[in-house]
């Protein structure tokens, strides 16, 4: 009888023991996969929230009068759109997301009334080659606009209506929900950057780049935030002399620190605890299995089965539990992340996708952990004295 055949028939005979072990592995792997999958969504969500609160690095033309900038919410000056590419390829500066925009205040006539609105053209996100990520910004098709809440109310605009801006007919694709942000999103009309450049007569120009989730320069230990920002500004201005760099850092840093703290908490406390419980669970079940099979082990030894063959029956079963548990756990964890993740992380819901790398890691780690958990009971089985077992009546 082949080893696998023996393992399979024993599993079918003691289904409860097998299913309990499998359940432990499935739940652990599902917890791991679900947490990591949702964790990545959480990361993106945090970044998104940071952006929405204006808490990231902002790059504007150098001549910008910041007093006017804060008053108007945009720079009167422009810079080439290609600056985004320069930033994306900068060796000492990385940003997960680079959003280029062109914003101006324009007058829009609708139903016989005139409205002062912020017109913002949004460029598609630019990523360095090989570092593409799920997009965080709207990608608005040409000829279409997203209208801020207050403006849509005042103009009595509905989705599907036409709006003329600067002589160009645009279709209202969406009327956005109320944001209440000080950046004036509720009185903003957002469109494709090419439409904005065409309407404003500023081809290939932008007036702001938002750099999200930046990791800028090699920050030295103990270096103050002010020194880091100054160093950052200097470094970027070497590459692009016509830019000004600033950031709102306090809330961003709190968010960032909170995220890192949760990651550390998860990685150092929660996940090891769950894995430990699983290992103990599988270990105890294997020990119970070994005790139940004392006579079987004894007769196998009497029939000439060596320690290796006896060990392979228990370790083989553990490997099987690990492999099946990893596969099912991955499916369960991913399914839970895909089902419940979007309810929690609404902004980045579309970015929650199965992480197939985790399947590979689960298929490696779960059988290894299950085997480790079964190792001591297996050694007890191998070391069991068959003479003692077989003289028991």
């Amino acid at each position: 009888m082949k080893t696998f055949g023996l393992i399979f028939k024993e599993i079918m005979h003691r289904k409860i023991n097998f299913l309990l072990g499998l359940l432990a592995v499935i739940l652990t792997v599902a917890f791991f996969v679900g947490s990591v999958t949702v964790g990545q969504a959480s990361h993106r969500e945090t970044v998104r929230l940071m952006r929405n609160m204006g808490m990231n690095l902002r790059i504007v033309p150098r001549q910008t009068d910041m007093t006017v900038f804060w008053d108007k919410r945009f720079s009167d000056y422009t810079m080439p759109e290609d600056h985004v590419k320069v930033l994306a390829h900068h060796k000492k500066f990385t940003a997960n997301h680079l959003l280029a925009t062109l914003t101006r205040k324009v007058t829009v006539s609708h139903n016989g009334k005139e409205f002062q609105v912020l017109l913002t053209g949004i460029a598609p996100e630019y990523f360095p080659p090989g570092k593409e990520k799920p997009s965080m910004s709207f990608e608005i098709e040409r000829g279409r606009v997203y209208v801020g809440y207050q403006l849509a109310q005042d103009m009595q605009l509905l989705r599907g209506e036409k709006l003329e801006i600067g002589g160009k007919q645009l279709l209202v694709e969406r009327c956005l929900a109320e944001t209440g942000t000080p950046e004036g999103d509720d009185i903003r009309i957002q469109c494709n950057i090419l439409d904005a450049q065409e309407i404003l007569g500023m081809p290939d120009q932008i007036n702001e780049i938002k750099a999200i989730d930046c990791m800028c320069l090699e920050v030295e230990s103990g270096e103050s935030r002010e020194v880091t920002v100054a160093r950052l500004r200097s470094e970027l201005q070497k590459a692009l002399p016509d830019i000004e760099v600033f950031q709102w850092q306090t809330l961003a840093q709190i968010r960032h620190d909170q995220r890192l703290m949760m990651q550390r908490y998860f990685a150092t406390l929660v996940l090891p605890s769950v894995v430990l419980v699983c290992v103990l669970w599988v270990g105890v079940l294997t020990m119970i299995n070994v005790r139940e099979r004392r006579q079987e082990i004894g007769i196998l030894r009497a029939l000439g089965y060596g320690g290796g063959k006896v060990a392979s029956l228990f370790l083989g079963k553990a490997l099987l539990i690990g492999l099946i548990g990893a596969g099912l756990g991955f499916l369960l964890g991913t399914e839970m992340a895909l089902t419940f993740g979007p309810q929690v992380f609404r902004e980045t819901a579309k970015g929650i996708k199965p992480l197939y790398d985790l399947l590979m890691w689960s298929l490696l780690a779960a059988p290894m952990c299950a085997s480790l958990a079964s190792f001591i009971p297996t050694m007890i089985a191998v070391a069991q004295d068959p003479a003692q077992t077989l003289r028991e009546e």
């Binding site: 009888m1 082949k2 080893t3 055949g5 023996l6 028939k9 024993e10 079918m12 005979h13 003691r14 006579q295 079987e296 004894g298 007769i299 196998l300 030894r301 009497a302 029939l303 000439g304 089965y305 060596g306 320690g307 290796g308 063959k309 068959p386 003479a387 077989l390 003289r391 009546e393």
Partner: protein, 219 residues
């Protein structure tokens, strides 16, 4: 076939050392049917397990077919046991989740093939278990289980069968039948060593050995 010289087995207990086998000398010839009898605690099972390579003696020389089995490595001893020795126990020790064919084939190891399966079926049929070959041990009577255990002991065509109280759980009719199969094995040239309380095996025995406190009292 079996040569024991000055064999002792000392168990360390809380009340001090206990000699299960005490300076025992014994030779069993090939083709012999030997019955070992003695009261509980006389060392019968210890002797049987020692001969079977499963209970290392504290001292003395033990040869099976001229091979010092305790001089072998554990794996070599396992292989030697699989090739040369068949066991039959009072409690049958059939694996509960395997049917009779699989239980019998268990003795052929993890590299068993179709030929082994054919032989297992033939053996079961010869032992009147042909119609029970796909049944599990729990579905069988005690006599049927013991016949299956005998089939398992025979499948590898061993030179020696060691039986420890093989009829302890059987009625007289089944006991006689079980000893009949062991006698058939002996007739075919095999060596049989039976440890038993009863006298059902006496009719087949070439020699009856009485064991008392680990020593042979009469043979």
């Amino acid at each position: 076939m079996v040569h024991l010289s000055k064999i002792s087995k000392i168990f360390q207990t809380r009340r001090g050392p206990v000699a299960a086998l005490d300076n025992l000398d014994l030779d069993i010839e090939p083709g012999e049917f030997v019955v070992i009898r003695g009261h509980s605690g006389s060392g019968k099972t210890t002797l049987l397990l020692a001969i079977g390579g499963m209970q290392r003696p504290s001292q003395g020389e033990l040869l099976i077919n001229g091979q010092d089995i305790y001089g072998l490595s554990p794996q070599q001893r396992s292989d030697f046991r699989a090739d040369n020795i068949g066991f039959v126990f009072q409690m049958f020790y059939l694996v509960p989740y395997l049917n009779l064919i699989d239980n019998v084939m268990l003795a052929t190891g993890t590299r068993s093939n179709h030929r082994d399966q054919v032989e297992a079926v033939e053996l079961l049929t010869r032992l009147k278990l042909g119609d029970r070959q796909h049944h599990r041990p729990a579905d069988l009577s005690a006599g049927e289980r013991q016949r299956a255990a005998i089939a398992r002991a025979l499948i590898n065509k061993p030179k020696l069968i060691l039986a420890d109280e093989p009829t302890g759980n059987l009625d007289p009719e089944n006991a006689a039948e079980a000893f009949g199969y062991l006698a058939d094995f002996q007739q075919a040239g095999g060596t049989v060593v039976v440890v038993t309380h009863g006298s059902a095996a006496d009719a087949h025995a070439d020699r009856i050995i009485h064991l008392d406190h680990g020593c042979i009292k009469s043979a």
